[in-house]
Symmetry: C2
Subunit: 151 residues, 2 copies
């Protein structure tokens, strides 16, 4: 894919879009924060807010409680490696500018204590009292994104 899509009409109104390379995607994700875990549940396509951080070239999510919104989030993805995506964006709708990064990969649940230890007290704990911390690592098989800007 080209670095800049050829969809802008030169001289026309509006913005342009730049596709983001892998390095730029990782740079945008590096500070961690709020993203969305995207997956197919048995009820259909699902996206739920999650807090994430970047650990080497993977993303570790602290899930919101799985049973709250979509009963099968735990049963749906708790076993083995389920294909998921993590979407992170930062968009100024008034300015019509912003970026999105989407990574896709298998959801690896950090169930062992040794796996979990580095992420305890790393800011990924649930926001809801009484909900145990649960972490998911997504090592992406694809990374992509784009940025829109007005000219």
């Amino acid at each position: 894919m080209p670095d800049e899509a050829d969809l802008s009409s030169p001289g026309g109104p509006g913005g342009v879009v730049d596709l983001l390379g892998d390095a730029e995607c990782w740079r945008l994700l590096a500070s961690g924060g709020l993203g969305r875990l995207v997956y197919s549940s048995r009820y259909g396509p699902t996206a739920l807010p999650v807090v994430y951080l970047v650990d080497e070239e993977s993303v570790v999510l602290g899930t919101w409680d799985s049973a709250l919104f979509d009963e099968d989030l735990r049963t749906g993805i708790a076993h083995a490696e389920y294909q998921v995506a993590v979407e992170v964006d930062q968009i100024d709708a008034d300015a019509r500018e912003g970026w999105i990064v989407l990574i896709r990969g298998a959801a690896h649940h950090l169930d062992g204590e040794a796996e979990r230890a580095p992420f305890i007290n790393a800011g990924l704990e649930p926001w809801i009292a009484g909900v145990p911390s649960h972490f998911i690592r997504v090592t992406p098989t694809s990374v992509g994104g784009f940025r829109t800007r007005q000219t």
Copy 2:
């Protein structure tokens, strides 16, 4: 499901979660704005930012250009009724408070002029120059959401 999940530990630290009823979900969506179109592409789970408005009890999306990020967004969902979700959230990560609404339903592409007319100049046009406006209506078969707050 209960109006308030029983996951809060009384007296413990942290927040609580309230499930949102349909009416509250629609109230939160009513002002329109930025959401995410969620679907399964042949590359896997996908979420892309979209601008939406509420038209009666459906959501009309102005899609970003479909070919930019995920080549099959158009071919993947342009035909007939594809199951999608629309996710809208407003979250203050520092305060650990916010809400999410997720609706699910079929994606109906507004291809006819009569269907499209009400949404021309309604704020759903693409942010990218040279990209034709394309609208998708999602009349939900399910509406749900929750809100977290600290106590």
